[in-house]
Symmetry: C2
Subunit: 355 residues, 2 copies
């Protein structure tokens, strides 16, 4: 019975936490609920990077006395002080809360169990690990980033039943439907950045924003070792992108692009100008990007898969057999994944795999 209540209130924390999606990065999404005598007396969530955490929000939203209440929170309350907001643990200890129930331990080495320890030392009962798998999935960007210091990478491929992403490499083919397009825009709003190759810009001339959904636009990263990007593409004209290129590529073009407001990130490469993706992810991670949605094209997908530099693969399959075209990826060696979820959007199939 108690476990059922714990699940119920931690699920509510997840719901609240999600309201910070896209705004709290590189922080985790956190929600908190305070319960007394079987009633929720306060709720809160971390709404934006730099603003208060979920726990003080919930505490401040309480209209009743907190004495003897239970605080639910999907992440261990923080105990460290070298950051924008004061730590949550001392506030909880002095609030009258007698019990704290959490889903995940904060993997931040500055917390990592210390928050729980301090609560217990102060005589507060702590229950941990409630729905921890769901909690891990909710904050997968944060957990990856804080452990590996590189962004969580999701590959998003829209394809035919026979794995073709377009009819040919120089032709844009719309395979999936309108609702799937909205879904992709919705996805983008959760990621710090979207990444595409220069050929995708050339063929599709995309905007890569979230105009069909709510939320903020992600940063745009263009992987373009040879700097072959067309200067009249919409993204370049908007002056809003980070181009990752070789130190060997055209210096004059770099200057022109910089003048338009485009950021350039240069790497040492061999004469073939192929960017080492691992180095790129490390650097982009250092720049504060905790999550990237990779949207193509085929060569880019193949590189990420072959080097196993991805965490999630989302395949949208349109209900059509093309028969011929450009394959979404060809990548060795064999890679085992885990099917996390599959569902339909207006006749398209969505399959979400985790590494």
């Amino acid at each position: 019975m108690e476990r059922q209540d714990h699940n119920k209130y931690i699920r509510r924390c997840f719901e609240l936490a999600k309201q910070g999606a896209g705004s709290v990065s590189p922080n985790p999404m956190v929600g908190s609920v305070i319960v007394k005598n079987g009633n929720i007396i306060g709720e809160g969530f971390h709404s934006k990077f730099g603003l208060p955490h979920a726990e003080p929000e919930a505490i401040n939203n309480c209209k009743e006395d907190l004495e003897g209440s239970t605080l639910y929170c999907n992440l261990e309350p923080c105990s460290h002080t070298d950051k924008k907001t004061p730590p949550c643990v001392p506030l909880i200890i002095t609030s009258g809360i007698k019990k704290v129930v959490i889903s995940n331990i904060d993997p931040n080495p500055k917390v990592s169990g210390r928050g729980i320890q301090q609560l217990r030392s102060a005589g507060i009962e702590v229950v941990e690990g409630v729905l921890d798998e769901e909690g891990n999935y909710l904050n997968r960007f944060f957990f990856k980033y804080i452990k590996a210091h590189t962004p969580y990478v999701t590959l998003k491929i829209a394809q035919s039943i026979d794995n073709f992403i377009s009819k040919s490499s120089d032709e844009q083919t719309w395979l999936t439907g309108k609702e799937s397009k909205k879904y992709v825009h919705h996805l983008r709003s959760f990621y710090d950045a979207v990444l595409v190759g220069a050929n995708t810009i050339k063929v599709d001339n995309p905007l890569l924003n979230v105009r069909l959904a709510e939320g903020r636009d992600p940063k745009i990263i263009i992987l373009d070792g040879k700097l072959s990007l067309l200067e009249n593409s919409s993204i370049v004209k908007n002056g809003n992108a980070l181009i990752v290129t070789s130190k060997l590529s055209d210096a004059k073009k770099k200057k022109r692009l910089t003048k338009l407001g485009i950021d350039i990130l240069e790497f040492d490469t061999d004469a073939d100008s192929i960017i080492n993706i691992k180095d790129m992810l490390k650097k982009v991670g250092e720049m504060g990007t905790n999550s990237i949605l990779v949207e193509g094209g085929a060569e880019i997908f193949s590189q990420f898969i072959s080097e196993k530099l991805f965490d999630e693969l989302i395949i949208l399959t349109a209900p059509v057999i093309l028969g011929t075209g450009l394959s979404g990826f060809r990548a060795l060696p064999e890679t085992k994944l885990k099917l996390h979820e599959n569902f339909q959007i207006e006749g398209d199939q969505v399959s979400i795999y985790l590494v």
Copy 2:
């Protein structure tokens, strides 16, 4: 309210009807429910080809007086007499039933609305078309067969995420899991026949029965224009298959196979011995087969898809990227399908497409 009741009882008819799956072919699956004063007073279903229809079963199972009751049945009651069992309409008319609710009209040209007409002429109210799409899907084998006189063809492909059905054309690769294997055996129990090419027999040496599920084994059809089938394969040794081959193929081998109990069906072909699938389906249909589950290999799938001689495509996708191997099919021209259903079986993805 009345429509809700109709849906509820017609759904019950579908459930009852399914109990005849695999046993009633080439007849449709039919269930019937009799309702009086809001209570079910009798149920029945067509259990086996040659045995009574659902309606007399339901009527005979009634323990109460039928006067003023409503009969639900997923298919229009039959009115024709040139068959194994007496027609249902006269029995209904004399039973005291005042109302009949059905899902689908019987497409059999000998019935096709005549059953409904006769009921109405006798003063019985008839409601038709309740959940008719679901009814159409339930009896898709029957509807196809009675209209086209050829079997309903389903292609079942087990593959990797990147569309490979095995690591190479001469090596068996188990991609999907144990529960998916059980699901395939369950599928087989619904079909009159399974069909494979000779190379699948050579590489996999399968039994193609339903040993992991309940139900009866389907007939086995082997498409083998050149008669290259290995005589020491399990299926040949069991003496239980129909081999479809060219008139040009080895006459002595045909004799040896016939002695083992194997049936041979011969077709005129060019020197390349490739069987015309349309002709084959026509002939097999004439022999009473209303449904075929095509299980491989790649050349067979490609032929059926290219010639658009299939009604349903079931893809089981294992959560693995192989990187290289034998593609499940390569088929032109472009073919649009409809995603009917998708779900998971123990980490494998099942996608059911309809043509």
